[in-house]
């Protein structure tokens, strides 16, 4: 069927609005099923009808929009999220040469009375706040219904997360991580007591995959355009982010710490390309490294600590493709990431050898 979606164009907006073919089935008034992913809008309403599902983004809809504009915007959010989730999952499956477990994407399940403008990836188990629905054992992506207009936009656009390919890719990236590197070692935990917390490498890998799929390191350049590019909250992948900026043992900074890993991966990919390598081979190296990291068994605590180390992840990358190893090692070293040492040791090492920088 034909649907509307924003296609990545490397720019600072949501992408180029286009019609695309989607291998999907409508199974309800607000639910699409694809081979890799199911997407549903939990807010109800008759959103989907007709043979083709080409809807108007309607500037994101939102609480100030007229009823029909909001309906169009929500229907567009469904098809846009489905298109990008499928694209990300198919890319990963091609690189892994095996499909990932089916993913469920819920839109608007967490929206009252406060509003939510982001997304998260959840597995069955304790969560704060508690999830309103039982979570699928293979994992779910939850997207908020939006909480704000895009700041600095020339024309008002309500930032509905389902309209933003970057947010969809990032959250699907966590699904890819869960079923490869499995940073929280959930494979060895009881099915109903999975750990949904994210470590820096999880966040960073998801950000890198987002950059890859968007074709730009400024992954959140649309809805965070008001934040300067040098500000860590922008989360633009950049050579400046080294282990000197790491804040270890601080789970609240997983995103900022993850930007270091994402930036290092982006630099490594650029170096591979500059030396005549191809992008797909680097991507296969990454997915292979992630699978390698998650492939070993052992006590959950020990495995979790091991998988939290930047150096371990780097070693798995090098093992996945020794031919690319020199270029990747050199690029990672520029970010203070080496194949030996704890995260704190890597930070101490770069801080002792570089010009003092202001870090927080």
């Amino acid at each position: 069927m034909r649907v509307a979606a924003y296609l990545p164009d490397g720019g600072t907006g949501p992408g180029r609005l286009a019609e695309v073919e989607l291998d999907a089935t409508v199974v309800g008034p607000a639910e699409l099923v694809l081979p890799e992913v199911t997407v549903c809008d939990e807010r109800g309403g008759e959103l989907l009808h007709g043979a083709d599902l080409v809807y108007d983004p309607a500037a994101g809809g939102g609480p100030l929009a007229a009823a029909e504009a909001e309906r169009q915007a929500r229907a567009f959010g469904l098809t846009n999220a489905a298109y990008h989730a499928q694209r990300a999952l198919r890319s990963a499956a091609a690189l892994l040469e095996t499909p990932l477990p089916h993913l469920l994407v819920r839109i608007g399940a967490h929206s009252s009375p406060t509003r939510w403008g982001g997304g998260h990836y959840r597995l069955p188990g304790a969560a704060n706040p508690p999830e309103p629905h039982p979570v699928a054992p293979t994992g779910e992506v939850h997207l908020g219904s939006g909480r704000a207009f895009v700041l600095g936009s020339a024309t008002p656009y309500f930032h509905a997360p389902a309209h933003n390919p970057a947010i969809v890719y990032h959250e699907v990236g966590h699904h890819i991580c869960r079923h490869t590197a499995d940073f929280r070692v959930n494979r060895l935990r009881p099915p109903d007591a999975q750990h949904s917390g994210k470590v820096a490498l999880d966040e960073g890998t998801a950000d890198f995959l987002t950059a890859l799929l968007l074709g730009t390191p400024d992954i959140y350049g649309w809805h965070r355009a008001h934040i300067p590019e040098w500000d860590p909250r922008r989360r633009k992948l950049d050579a400046r982010w080294t282990m000197a900026f790491l804040r270890p043992k601080s789970s609240g900074h997983a995103h900022a710490n993850g930007t270091i890993w994402a930036s290092a991966l982006w630099s490594a990919r650029a170096r591979v390309l500059a030396e005549g390598g191809d992008s797909e081979r680097f991507n296969r190296m990454l997915l292979g490294g992630l699978s390698g990291l998650g492939g070993s068994d052992g006590p959950v605590r020990e495995e979790q600590d091991r998988r939290n180390r930047f150096s371990e992840s780097l070693r798995e990358l090098l093992t996945a493709d020794p031919v690319l190893a020199p270029a990747v090692l050199a690029a990672m070293a520029d970010h203070g990431i080496h194949s030996q040492g704890s995260n704190a040791e890597l930070r101490a090492r770069i801080r002792s050898t570089s010009t003092p920088v202001v870090t927080t």
């Binding site: 100030l64 007229a66 909480r147 700041l151």
Partner: protein, 302 residues
């Protein structure tokens, strides 16, 4: 020295007063059930009625308050013609388009009034929650203190919450609104709303002081349905919520939500929700996004 030991300077800082200090204030009345009841009475002595510098004679006060700080009147500030200065001389021009016409919801600016069951029921905190929620949502928030007695406290609260534009009755020539004719207050309320729209605000809160039973508040509330899209009622308990909602509904103005001090108690909040049938939203919930939902068509259509 009495109840007020500090007086705001021109920048809003509370300057500690000392016996013998020479200060400048503005004559006016005060109606504050939790503080002073006072009136402008020309004479050689007066009281400091607010920390913002409203000067009058206190005739009653709450038992928890100290007696007012006493002032000796030296004289009136005058202009070059030796005529006493008045805030009226410095009032903002009213927008040319000032009218009672209400902009269509969704078509431009939205305006919500915050009213309360009494003084200290949480009106300004509720207004700040709305402002914060709108500002965080990318809207241009404007705030107006429609009535009250002159002091900078609420203005700073609005600005701290993220208001891009703020006006109050001082901007329109009144040191205190207690005792002004209702027509003047009503037209000023509309001028405030239109001024904020003119300045660029697209989400506006109009805070009306004191409780719904105060004379001017009661009379202004009767015209709110033509001035704003709805109201949020700040109360301290469920009984006040029920009575306040009934009073507001009798005027025809939509009541969008209950907020204020009652939200500090989950149990009391549930009581209030049960007896009013309305969402009971804490200022924090308003700031986290509920303020935006109050502007939605479906909410305004209640």
């Amino acid at each position: 020295m009495g109840g007020h030991e500090r007086l705001e300077d021109a920048h809003g800082r509370g300057v500690r007063l000392h016996k013998g200090d020479l200060v400048v204030g503005a004559c006016g009345n005060r109606y504050a059930t939790d503080f002073y009841e006072g009136y402008h009475r020309p004479g050689p002595r007066a009281h400091l009625l607010t920390a913002g510098g409203v000067i009058g004679t206190a005739v009653s006060w709450h038992t928890s308050c100290l007696a007012p700080t006493e002032l000796e009147i030296v004289g009136a500030l005058t202009n070059e013609d030796n005529l006493p200065l008045s805030l009226e001389h410095f009032a903002r021009p009213r927008p040319a388009a000032a009218s009672a016409e209400l902009p269509e919801p969704g078509a431009g600016a939205h305006a919500i009034a915050v009213v309360g069951s009494s003084m200290n029921s949480g009106k300004t905190t509720t207004a700040a929650g709305l402002i914060s929620g709108w500002a965080r949502a990318g809207l241009v928030a404007g705030a107006a203190k429609v009535t009250g007695s002159g002091s900078g406290k609420d203005r700073w609260t609005y600005i701290d919450a993220g208001a891009a534009h703020v006006v109050d009755f001082l901007d329109f020539g009144m040191s205190s609104t207690f005792g002004y004719p209702t027509d003047r207050l009503r037209s000023t309320m509309i001028a405030m709303r239109d001024t904020l729209v003119h300045d660029g605000a697209n989400a506006i809160v109009l805070e009306i002081a004191d409780g719904l039973l105060q004379d001017e508040t009661r009379l202004l509330t009767a015209s709110l349905s033509a001035v704003c899209h709805g109201t949020v009622l700040a109360v301290g308990d469920a009984l006040a919520a029920r009575a306040g909602v009934d009073l507001l509904r009798s005027t025809g103005v939509p009541v969008l939500a209950v907020s204020g001090l009652v939200t500090a108690s989950p149990l009391a909040a549930r009581e209030a929700a049960a007896v009013t049938g309305l969402p009971v939203l804490s200022p924090a919930q308003l700031a986290e996004g509920a303020a935006l939902d109050l502007l939605a068509d479906h909410a305004l259509a209640q």
